[in-house]
Symmetry: C2
Subunit: 314 residues, 2 copies
Amino acid sequence: MKRFLTGFVTGAAALAMMAPVVAQNADEAAQAEAPKTVDEVMAMAGEADWLAPDPDSTIYMLVPHGLIVIVLSDDLAPGHVEQVRTLVREGYYDGLNFYRVIDGFVAQGGDVSEEKDKGSAAESLPAEFEEPIPDGLAFTPLGNFDGYAPEAGFINGMPAGIDRERGSVWLAHCTGAFAFGRNNERDSASTEFYIALQPQRYLDRNLTVFGRVIWGMDVVQAIKRGRPNNGGVIENEEDWTPIISARLASDVPEAELLDLQMMDTNSDVFLELIEARRNRMGAFFYVQHDYLDLCQLQLPVRLKPVEEEEGESE
Amino acid sequence: MKRFLTGFVTGAAALAMMAPVVAQNADEAAQAEAPKTVDEVMAMAGEADWLAPDPDSTIYMLVPHGLIVIVLSDDLAPGHVEQVRTLVREGYYDGLNFYRVIDGFVAQGGDVSEEKDKGSAAESLPAEFEEPIPDGLAFTPLGNFDGYAPEAGFINGMPAGIDRERGSVWLAHCTGAFAFGRNNERDSASTEFYIALQPQRYLDRNLTVFGRVIWGMDVVQAIKRGRPNNGGVIENEEDWTPIISARLASDVPEAELLDLQMMDTNSDVFLELIEARRNRMGAFFYVQHDYLDLCQLQLPVRLKPVEEEEGESE
């Protein structure tokens, strides 16, 4: 039964079960020669390969149909990160709306009227489209051609581009990218944010991306589109989706927190995952492409497994 | 007001208004030297650049929250196209469900139980993952590197890859791609279909794509995801999204038809659109990438403008 599904998702798992013993740790794995399936790699990930996001860099945004969790960059665009922290801490987004939601493009939210007091937040922000490469920046290269950057890869969980010749680095517009909108002026971003609904790499270095959705992207995709006016704003305000609240995780009551973990993109297992996605192994796949698009590698995120209580394992 | 929006959508339009006189026809336009904005190119498209899809190759799929319109390939995968025509004509999908909907991946529908009679449809289909290049095939090249095909481009409205050395061609897994699932056997596709929710190019040549959603992709994105089991099937059947009906446009009452038109990908204006998207001009953009990802160029689709009645133009 369910024959049309087996290969699609469980084919790789089936192969994993038939496969030789999986290496015991990441060092051994890196030396292993046989290409691995995605499921095999995921099974190799140990507790140390999963990281909890910093609660001061994590936004819980609640809309009527669900929860969206956004992680902010700890490495780039500090001005934008600090601005959104201030806005969120002061409750700026509470009661505002997603008012410009264009399928296949972005979901934009904030205060289209620009009437709400910005509190301690800046009136406008210097652009941080791209920035000098920080000393000691951890950058995990994707390892093949990218059309929108001399080199593509990952910075602590965020897809990114880097130009070593020019000495600059930036976060990429993959699905779930979190960024501020602006008008035609470079330095005009302030409060209005958008989330990419599909990859929009042509916006890279044209706007400041400074985070990404790690949970609830299905909620973002279900935000009502509505009929847009010429500027893309949904004409009928009743079709706007309200933001009930936006809080830093450090301000969310513990009982309401999700125990989320992101795969460490600086780990050996993540390097293995890149290879497993560059050439898909397993009985289901007839063609390997030896290529991986940056936005195709969605960062693995999970709810931390519940530990068995000590002393009860026997 | 609405300052955060102006640049985003209307910046290019503003530039278009300031720009020199737009060439009067596509031939002149092709000779013009100044790079154009997307809005300028779209304004150049005349009535002849818009094509209505063949009603025998168009599926109207109704779900409770809206309408999805799928156009089938007239050039490739004739076995799959004929199979789905048969299934749709005989009402096979009516009352079945979207039962495997994985955000960021695919929405799969059909009969997970495999109990429904397939009527005149084939029990299973020879794979049409890629096919010999048909004589006289119209292929509009994208014109830059593609990671998943020696050459990428468009075949009569469909994003595609081509390998001229091997002499084969296939449709690409961009967002909205319509394809049949299968198990691990090449030739096991039969009735279960999926729609790509994001680009999934690694599936190219591993499954048979034979159409694309041209209308209602927002409806597809809003299909309920639900909690999946190991195979990806939504565990709770109450969370499945029913397919009320699926009909060929030729069997839909005229009053219920939408007057949809797709931009002709063999037109000069479409070539201009490729260039306008490869390097985004206009006051909003600070960086041009000189690169266009195949799946980034969403085919323009519109409702045919209502004509003024004759004799009433003065």
